[in-house]
Symmetry: C2
Subunit: 336 residues, 2 copies
């Protein structure tokens, strides 16, 4: 069996959740460090993770390279790879890209719903595409081996990131808008450009991204995956569950409002349903991850395709994405 | 020939200086990142170093482990190891020890002349010894593999650091006070405790630490080294030149005064000679480093002892000091 990898989670981390990762057989999870946090605040989150790594060395460890997937499998632990949902963590300083890469940051979204210094979010009325700094930061991310993630970005910004980036990019957690036209889901044009350039789409299990919300059936989700694979191939598909387990609703408010507004913003929610939506009953936590295989098989995927979607495709993408670009390597310069 | 290693420099870095490191055959230099800089300011210095590593990949690269000494020799480059002269870079947050270790910090002084959160500097009237936080931070430095450096600390604090640290510590740049009773030089009691515990004394070439200042002759310096070796053995001795090449005098003011006083403080200088003192004419820059060998030989050291003092002893100490403590290693946890 290939690797099991979840392309996005932001839970209220605990020993319970780390044990569930092991019970689910997860070899790796890409975890979110920050939404609107500054560099210093993001470093504080890294320090908190270091405490978890020290406290639960038999369950988790920090992943830096694709080779850590083999270590995870061999030592029966889950490799935790860091990601940022927003470039707030690099502030206005391109030098922080390499610093955060050294600390293990392997994914960074260029925007989170709003305009950033780098590009436009999917909730802005105007989409600037990549800004001047955005183009410089994408090149720097390409150089050091940090994956551009456009999950929360606008259409034009996403297409320009795909075009401008010298290395494949990712949309770590979103679904096709053709299936469910949520603002966060992606157009066929974006998915086609992503797939053509070796990028990855992490299919999301967050209710607002699902047709029918949390009531969406596993077979409906997997049929959507099958239709997406028919059109764009299955090699670009992974899972990015967007699991936000055990989080209080204050966290979804921070995600949506950060410090950029004093007014209430419901984002994908509403005044009637302002909090985290309940997850589908077939994906409540990491223990349900292996159960996705049966659904994918029922939707027509063969064993190799199931392996790819549940982690093999992410593993290949990690191997291609996390090292320094060949041109950036000096004589024997280390890649991690 | 063994490695050539300088245990402390803080120059106004440039391509010229990096080329002089190569001309001098330096395999490694421990460079100072910060005096009074905060965490964020120290990270900005690291980002500046990343630019130098990118600009001069044929001359320098960042060192993380003792194995990088072999890489340096094989690729004819100088490995740059980071150090802090003051714990201002960890602010009041013990979590920043591991974060900075990940970024490559391999030495940290617990104090710089003044009282810090961790211990007392050599200019304080009262020496508290290690504070509560000081004991915790020493244990954390021991755990991750960051060397405790007491170059600018008070006598009691230094003795307590030697005693409390589970791993050997360093005084990266100072001389015996018995030879030249400068406030920054160290008592025989400190040097004896250091040597007994496997620690290192980097003999300083900074004029205020030399008998006769910049006029001190190389043979006088090397005779001091020989007397120190007779008493404490040569295995604890290295060079920590404290070279501050091409620095404007505003930098020595920052070293002495930081942001802790508005009044002029001359430190080891005086109103008559407030700036950087001129270096001895036999050690103006890195190209003079190999010339120390002849002086040490004239003072009676054999070839193996010369090898040790010029870098072999630091190499052994790096190998013992820079990895995670065995107890801190989980299953296959990486040490860098």
């Amino acid at each position: 069996m290939s690797f099991l990898i979840d392309g996005t989670q932001y839970s209220n981390w605990s020993g319970t959740i780390f044990r569930q990762m092991r019970d689910g057989g997860l070899d790796a999870v890409h975890v979110t460090l920050n939404y609107h946090e500054t560099f210093r605040e993001t470093v504080a989150v890294i320090a908190r993770w270091n405490r978890w790594f020290e406290t639960y060395p038999d369950l988790i460890f920090q992943g830096f390279t694709a080779a850590d997937l083999d270590t995870a499998r061999r030592t029966r632990r889950t490799a935790i790879f860091f990601g940022a949902q927003n470039p707030s963590c690099i502030e206005d300083d391109i030098g922080l890209v390499e610093v955060l890469h050294r600390l293990g940051l392997r994914f960074m979204q260029l925007t989170y719903n709003n305009q950033s210094l780098l590009a436009s979010g999917c909730y802005e009325a105007e989409d600037t595409g990549l800004t001047r700094m955005g183009r410089e930061v994408v090149a720097e991310m390409n150089r050091v081996g940090m994956v551009v993630d456009m999950s929360h970005s606008g259409e034009r910004s996403t297409l320009e990131a795909i075009e401008h980036s010298a290395r494949p990019i990712a949309i770590t957690h979103a679904n096709p808008a053709a299936w469910h036209p949520a603002r966060r889901n992606k157009s066929d044009r974006v998915i086609a450009a992503l797939a053509e350039t070796g990028g990855m789409l992490g299919l999301s299990l967050y209710p607002h991204h699902l047709k029918g919300g949390g009531a969406c059936a596993i077979d409906e989700f997997c049929a959507m995956a099958a239709r997406t694979a028919e059109r764009f191939g299955s090699a670009c598909l992974g899972i990015g569950s967007d699991l936000c387990q055990d989080q209080p609703d204050s966290v979804v408010e921070w995600m949506r409002m950060g410090r950029w507004t004093k007014a209430m913003d419901y984002g994908e929610g509403s005044a009637a349903a302002p909090g985290f939506p309940p997850m589908p009953d077939w994906f409540r936590d990491n223990r349900d991850f292996p159960g996705l295989r049966a659904g994918l098989a029922r939707a027509g995927f063969d064993a190799a395709e199931c392996d790819g979607i549940l982690g093999g495709n992410w593993a290949r993408f990690f191997a291609a994405g996390f090292g320094a670009a060949p041109a950036a390597q000096g004589p024997e310069r280390r890649s991690a």
